[in-house]
Symmetry: C2
Subunit: 540 residues, 2 copies
C-alpha cells in the first residue's frame, strides 16, 4: 500500500522518515530483522561504487537510529530477516555533470536479499543513502519496517546545491569534507564554492602565486592545488560536483593588494558604500586590457584545476560609480568616443565568458549579468537569481536556465543582525530563513509548464560575514535539508498535493537526529518533547 | 598615562584588549618579555586559590594570543622581563554570594615581579583572568605591552549572569562546565539554571524520584545529585554562583505526567494557547493543598542541594484560564465564598516564598509575581524583569532589587524564527539580538541615582526551544560577553563617556578570538579582514 504522506507525521509506529522523500515509495506491513546488513556490488568494479559501499557499510555499522517519536517502542516482532543488499549498476560511465542519471530502484523484500539497481554509480549512491535511512533501531534491535518496500526514485532538479563563501571567513578543508558528507545524506549534489571575494584569496594560483601569498588570511588558511583536487575527489566519491566561483569584475579588492594597477576604487573610506555593497571596495578596471588579460589567465588556469563542466564567473553587485570616478576609466572614455562604462562592462563580459567557452565549459552568472548589463550571455549560461523571486520566471522567459537562490528564502546568513559595529540594525535580508520558510518556497512560481524544464536548480547560500568554522554546521543544517527535499522530491506528492512543513516535520526531525548521530551539528527544530509527541506542537 | 578608550579600537599597536574593561587601567610604553610567567600564591593555602592559579598557569602555558589587528607585527624589542606574579589574598573567607568582594589590584612593572592583590579568592580569580589577557604573542614572542600597567578593578553589578534553560532541550554536564569556563573568561559570576520546565525534568529528586524517572528525556539526559554538586563546585572554583530555578506554578506539565492530580489543564490540545504560552500546558493546581505541599517539599529538598543563598521560584507566564476551567478549582471557588483565582494564587505564592524564607534563602522571581499578581513578595526578593524594559525602573521604584533580563535586548534565542512547524513567521521576540544591541542596552535607564543601587544584576537568557548541545556556544558567545562588559564595567568610561560598539569592537574581536583559542565556539563578528583592519568596516 502507499502510505499517505499526510499521515506519516502522525503515525509514531511508521518507519523512520526518508529524507528527501522518494518519488515512489510503496510499503507493506512486515517488520524484518536487519542486524548486519551486507552490501555487495554485483556487476561493477568501479572504485567509486566500491568506495560508496564501503562508506555506507561503515555508516550502517555505526548507526543505531531510533526515530524520536519511537523512543518508547519495544523491540518489535520480526517476520523475516534481511539478507544481502545486491547493488547493480548499468553504466560504466563515471561522468558527473548536470545530465548524470541519479535514478535508482530499491526493493526490500519481507526477507532475503534486497536489490538496488541504478543506471550510474551516482544513482547507486543515492539508493545507498535511502537504504541506510530505512534501518531503524527499536529497543536495541535493528529492523526494517513496512516491508516489502519498493522505491523508485529520481530527482526533480538536476542541480541541488549549497553555495559557500570561503573568503569573508575561512573554512578548513576537513570541514568542507564534513560538509560534503552532510550534503550526501540529503542527496545534495552541488557545492558552489564561492572561493574568493574582496576580503581574501585563499586558493593557490600557479599563474599568479602572489594572489594567495598576499591574499590568503594565513598559511593555515589556504587551499592548495592538492587541497582543491582532494575536495573535488571527495565530492565525486559522494556524487557531488564542485562548481567554483571566481567573482568578477566586482568583489576584487584583494587582487588589488597585489596588482593595484588593475583594480579600481581600492578600499575607499569612509564612504565605501558609494563604491561597493560592503567594505573593502575594489573592482577590476574594465578600461584596462591588463585587467581582462589577468581575468582570462585566471580562467584558463582554474577551468583546468576545477574539473566540473560549469564555471561561475560571479558578476553580482557591480558598482558603476567605482569606474565613473576612476581616473583611468575617465581618460579612456575621453579618448574613445563611443565607449561608456556600460560598453566597457559588456566588452569585459564578452572576453571572460568567451574564455570560459574556449575552455569548453558552461558559464554560470549571478542574475545581474543578464538583467543589469547590456551584455547578452551565451544561451547555455546558467543564471543564478538572488535579488528577486520573480527573476526565476524572468530568466526562463528569456530562454535561460535558472538556478534559484532567492535571498528572501534561501540565504542562510540572514537574520543575524547587522555586522557593522556602528549600526544596531537588522540584516539587510532579515528575517532569519526558517526551515519552514525554505520548505515553502516555490522555485516554479509563475513559471509556465513549457518553461519548467529551464528551472534546473536550487541553491541555498551561506555568505560568511558572520560565520566561520565555529558555526558552519548550525547555519547549514538542518535548513539545507529543507531545500534538498524540494529540489529532489518537488513540492507535491504523487497525488499533486503540496506538502506542508506541518506534514513533514516528523520526517524532518528524523533527518535532523540522524544527522546529529552522524556527527553533524544540525540544530534542533523544537524541544525534544515535540519531536517525541507528533502533532502536539502545532499552532492552533 | 591613561589610554583614551576611544582610541583603543584604532591603535593596532596597542596591547590586546582586556574584556571586560577594568575600572582603572593605567599604562605606559615599555614592552617586556613574558615567556614563562610563574604565578605564586603568597599568603594563602586556599585550595580555591591554588586551583585558580593552576588553571591559569595551564591556560597561559597553552595560549599564544595574537590580536587580529596585530597579525603582521614583528616581534617587538623588549626592555625588561616579567618575573613572577605574586598573588596576595586578604580574607580567608570563601563565601560566594551577592556581597562577595571581587575587586583586585594588578601591577605589572616594566620588569621583575608583578603583583595581584585581592580581598577574596574570587577577586584574585578575576585578576588572574585579566593577567592572562595582558599577554600577547607577536611573531611567536610572548610579551606584555604598555608596562608599567596598573589596574584597579571591581564590578559595577554584583550579579552578572547567564540564564540557561535545560528543560526544552538537554545540555550535558560537560557542556555546562565548558560554559562555566567560558563565563569565567568574561567575569560572569552567575549561572541561573532554569533546570526544569514543562517539557522535561532532568534533575534528580530524592523526595519524588519519579519526577526524574518519568520526566527526564532519557537516562543519558539527567542531572544526578552528584552532577549538580559537581557543577556547583566547578562554578565556585571559578567564582560562579549556581542559582537554580524551579518554575512554579506554571510550566509544570511534566510534573503532571507523574502526579496528574495536582496539575491543571494538562496538555490541552489543539488549543493549548488558551492555557499556556507554549505547549504542553499544565500548572500546579492552586486549589489543592497537595499541590502546594508538593511545591514546599521540593523547595525544602532543593534549597539544600543547591547551596547558593538565592533560590528562583519562577512565577512567569501564569495562565488564569487554566484554573478558571479546572473542575477542582471551580468546585473550590463554589464552596469558598471569598476565594478567587487571584487569592488562590496569592496564597500559593505566600506558601512557596515562605518555604524559601524558612530555609534562610533569598527568593528570586520573574516580574509577573510582583506586577501581575496580588501577592506582595518579601522585600528582599530579587525581581527578574523580562517583559518590558520599563519594568526595571518600576521594580526599583517599588523598593525591590532588579535583575535586568529584557527580552528586547537580552534574550539570546530571539530572531531564529518560529518553531511551530505550521507557522512560517518570526520569533515572538524578533529580531536577533546582536552584540551591538546587547552592548547598547542600558539597565539603568529611567532609574534615579538614589534607586541605582537596587539595580543589582543583569542576565542574558537562552531559552532552548531551538537550541541544544549542537548550538550552545554559538548562541551564547560572543554575545554574552557584550552583557558582561556592561555589567562589570558599566556603560561609561572614567570620564563619563558612554562607550559605543564602534569604540569597543576591536577589543570585542580580541575577546572573541581569545575565546576561540580557548576552545569556545564563539561566532565571528565580522570578516577576519575587518578584525585585522580596524576602522575599515564601519557604516559611513
Amino acid at each position: 500500500m502507499k502510505v499517505a504522506l499526510s499521515l506519516l507525521g502522525f503515525l509514531s509506529c511508521a518507519a523512520a522518515g526518508l529524507w528527501p522523500y522518494p518519488a515512489v515509495y510503496d510499503t507493506s506491513n512486515a517488520t524484518i530483522a536487519a542486524d548486519r546488513p551486507l552490501i555487495v556490488a554485483m556487476n561493477s568494479y568501479s572504485p567509486l561504487l566500491n568506495g560508496a559501499i564501503s562508506r555506507y557499510t561503515d555508516i550502517i555499522a555505526k548507526e543505531r537510529f531510533t526515530p524520536p517519536a519511537d523512543y518508547k517502542l519495544k523491540a518489535p516482532q520480526t517476520s523475516g530477516e534481511l539478507g544481502r543488499l545486491l547493488v547493480e549498476v548499468e553504466s560504466d560511465s563515471e561522468d558527473l555533470n548536470m545530465e548524470t542519471d541519479e535514478s535508482y530502484t530499491l526493493d526490500i523484500p519481507a526477507g532475503g536479499d534486497a536489490s538496488l539497481k541504478a543506471k550510474t554509480v551516482y544513482g547507486a549512491m543515492r539508493g545507498l543513502e535511502t537504504f541506510s535511512q530505512l534501518l531503524d533501531t527499536l529497543e536495541g534491535k535493528r529492523v526494517i519496517r513496512d516491508t516489502p518496500v519498493h522505491i523508485k526514485d529520481q530527482p526533480v532538479l538536476a542541480h541541488r546545491g549549497i553555495s559557500l563563501d570561503t573568503s569573508r571567513n575561512y573554512y578548513p578543508v576537513s570541514l568542507l569534507k564534513h560538509t560534503l558528507d552532510a550534503m550526501s545524506y540529503n542527496k545534495i549534489n552541488v557545492l558552489h564554492w564561492h572561493i574568493v571575494d574582496a576580503q581574501s584569496w585563499p586558493v593557490e594560483s600557479k599563474t599568479y602565486p602572489e594572489l594567495q601569498q598576499n591574499g590568503a588570511y594565513g598559511k593555515d588558511m589556504q587551499y592548495s592545488y592538492s587541497d582543491v583536487r582532494d575536495i573535488i575527489s571527495y565530492g565525486q566519491e559522494r556524487g557531488i560536483r564542485i562548481i567554483p566561483e571566481f567573482d568578477m569584475p566586482g568583489h576584487m579588492y584583494i587582487v588589488g593588494e597585489t596588482f593595484p594597477k588593475i583594480v579600481s576604487c581600492m578600499d575607499k573610506q569612509p564612504n565605501w558604500d558609494k563604491y561597493a555593497a560592503e567594505p573593502p571596495s575594489g573592482q577590476l578596471n574594465i578600461a584596462k586590457t591588463d585587467a581582462s588579460d589577468f581575468a582570462i589567465k585566471l580562467i584558463n588556469e582554474y577551468t583546468k584545476l576545477f574539473t566540473d563542466e560549469v564555471f561561475h564567473l560571479g558578476g553580482d553587485e557591480v558598482n558603476r560609480n567605482c569606474w565613473e570616478e576612476d581616473p583611468d576609466v575617465k581618460e579612456y572614455l575621453k579618448t574613445h568616443n563611443n565607449a561608456t562604462v556600460e560598453t566597457l562592462l559588456s566588452d569585459f563580459y564578452t572576453k571572460v565568458h568567451g574564455a570560459v567557452k574556449n575552455q569548453k565549459k558552461i558559464g554560470m552568472s549571478w542574475e545581474e549579468t543578464l538583467f543589469h548589463s547590456e551584455y547578452v550571455p551565451p544561451k547555455d549560461t546558467l543564471i543564478q537569481t538572488w535579488i528577486d523571486e520573480q527573476s526565476i520566471p524572468k530568466t526562463v522567459q528569456k530562454g535561460y536556465r535558472s538556478i534559484a537562490s532567492p535571498a528572501s528564502a534561501y540565504y542562510l546568513d540572514c537574520g543575524h543582525g547587522a555586522w557593522l559595529p556602528n549600526f544596531d540594525g537588522n540584516s539587510w535580508c532579515d528575517p532569519y530563513k526558517t526551515w519552514q520558510h525554505i520548505y515553502k518556497f516555490n522555485p516554479w512560481a509563475n513559471v509556465t509548464e513549457a518553461e519548467r524544464k529551464l528551472v534546473v536548480g536550487a541553491e541555498v547560500a551561506l555568505w560568511s560575514e558572520q560565520s566561520d568554522e565555529t558555526s558552519l554546521d548550525n547555519y547549514l543544517w538542518p535548513r539545507s535539508a529543507a531545500m534538498a527535499e524540494i529540489a529532489w522530491s518537488g513540492r507535491t506528492d504523487s497525488k499533486g498535493h503540496v506538502r506542508t512543513p506541518e506534514e513533514v516535520v516528523q520526517r524532518m526531525h528524523d533527518q535532523r537526529f540522524r544527522m546529529v548521530g552522524r556527527g553533524v551539528n544540525a540544530e534542533p527544530l523544537q524541544p525534544l518533547w515535540c519531536a517525541r509527541n507528533p502533532g502536539h506542537c502545532l499552532l492552533p
